[in-house]
Amino acid sequence: MNFDFSDDQKLLKEQVRKFLTDKCPTKVVRRVLDGNETHAEEVWKGLVDLGVPGIGIPEEHGGLGLSPLELCVVAEEVGRAAAPVPFDTSVVLATEALKLAGSDAQKKKWLPELAAGKAIGTLAIAEGPQPPKPRGIRTTFGGGRLNGKKLPVADGEAATFAIVLANTGGQGDRAVSLVLVDLKQAAVAKKRVETIDPARKHAELTFKDAAADLLGSEGEGWRTLERLYDAAAVYFAFAQVGGAEAAMWMARDYALQRQAFGRAIGSYQAIKHKLADCYVKLELARSNAYYGAMMLTEGGADLPLAAAAARIAATDAYDFASKENIQTHGGIGFTWEADTQFHYRRARVMALALGGPMAWKDKLVTRLEQKNVA
């Protein structure tokens, strides 16, 4: 039985954690939250220097060629720090999409730039209100030209290219394709959109006859997206586990120090049991995330099921820990000055980004049904 990360992987985790503790304390998150920057550039640069964007990129394309396990431990630390950097967009979504569906030429062009931190990629799916569905995508692609509007796009301003879900005229689920578009062209307009998490900037991207090319086959967009989301669900789960754990310990530390009625509030069962519940949810999430990581690494048939389970458990753990962290802090926890808000906001953004728990629960049962039939 070897259901744990290796010593090398733990070492990498420690290294990233140390870097983020030093260079990305909460005051950096606050700086981005309160300010105008698209992301914390010095933190991003430091992660690039550590080789983070190249972890999952093959050596032939300038990456480190490591396994998903290495990226999982890093995701956990990025989530713990609630780091305001384009990790989930560029390192997870854009990189994985290219690896999953990119042509040799596309990989050759973009992966080395991603690995070197010269390019920042993102994924542009939603078009404002309504959960995205294969039918009803209004952005169109044809004749090499992309037209339409996408929002909210995480890191849309910082990104140098985007992978966009566009209607290419097919039937049903095959109506849509993924399209890669260079954002450094005049046919692309970017506008910031305000969200509940100003520490993670989002944008509206408008395409007017923008030059773009297919990523993967035409009509395969939705299917690729589902596979991409399965992989991303695992990485997101690690980031959520990291965030949930940070929120839990923040609450614990405060509960040890804050006195009420002559003793630490952490000695009252209402607080103790609340944090015990945090821990329980966290461990369920961690164990499910581990299995997701293992399936991702093995390319196991259980990946879709494991990814859904990891996603559901981690979303629940992060939601709960981040909200009960505020509650444990009492009034001070609800002020703008409090660091509790970072995880509360981030938890919700992460919960919604790949589709919410309700959708994933439905997916999970579908996958269980398929497995039982198989």
Partner: protein, 405 residues
Amino acid sequence: MDFNDTPEEAAFRKEVRAWLDANATRKSDDKQSFRARSDDPELLRKAKAWQDKKAKAGYARITWPKEYGGRGGSPILQVIYQQEEANYLVPLGFFDIGLGMCIPTMMAYASPEHLQRYVKPALHGDEVWCQLFSEPAAGSDVAGIRTKAERDGDGWVINGQKVWTSGAHYSDYGIIITRTDPNVPKHQGLTMFFLSMKTPGVEVRPIKQMSGGANFNEVFFTDVRIPDSQRLGKVGEGWKAALTTLMNERLAVGMPSGGLDVDELMELARDTDLEDGPAIRNQQVRSKIADWYVQRQGLKLTRYRTLTALSKGQTPGPESSIIKIVAAPKMQDMGAFAMELMGPAGIMKEEVPHAAGFQAQWIGGAGFRIAGGTDEILRNIVAERVLGMPADVRVDKDVPFNKLK
């Protein structure tokens, strides 16, 4: 069993409605409102004018004795007035703390001369009052306050800091609880005063909340000198006075109003297309709508039970203690769920129907679970006062305050 007024209540309601029709504008729909507790001076000016008008007509504080400008009416008449007033476009919320908590405390402890001086201006909205209780180290445990008041000749010198003071920035006066003797156990060394917020050494700073709003303040006291005549109650008996005030506070924290609720959630669910059809057809969505409807309806009806007791001249039962325990988490959870229904765009502050409203619930609910008694404190209260269960062990009860950690 019915929701009808008694003949006396009906007559009063009719009278009130006629007066309001003559003096204010009826709302065109029930979402319309003045933003209360804002720091817009113009709004405060309007609120003061409206309060004066009400006071002159005898509606400002119906339950107060006539000598203080009330009409000695029963609590149910006060409620009826408020129910009716809520249908008109008038600025409210600036005087609730003063008239609901501060002045009643003054009535219990202040001298006749002071009452003569302060009650009327408060009632007519000329002077606004605030309540200076909470401190950074004394939230749920109000008696843990550290702001000192020390004897200085004929008067007292106050030093320390208060927090979460609603309306301090537009208040003229405040009642304040202070520690006058740190050598006795915490509940015994407290004394209550009132003071002008313009007294030298008082400094008000707004607190920015996580929601972005700033409804509360920190108030700093640096060598603030006040005469002994501004003391309320005996030296060392401030806790008794504070309990009077707090009891009123906990009654006053009612249901949040004006926010989105089940109706808007249903509207959202009807308008949201999931992969397999409108979200309103999804049984998980329906189950949540049903749960929250049952809660909302349960609270509304519980309030009717309270009003019935008032209407019969009885003291309301403990039912109303459940309101915030239910309403606050519901607000937080419903907000979060509504955002989920909207998909990834649920995080956007603009351009998504109802998004801002439900986001406000999601974030405001986190604060509402804390303000005016946390979920945890309220459950203690229900268990102790309603179910008669023992208080938790109090290690601080008999220890001199300055010997506590």
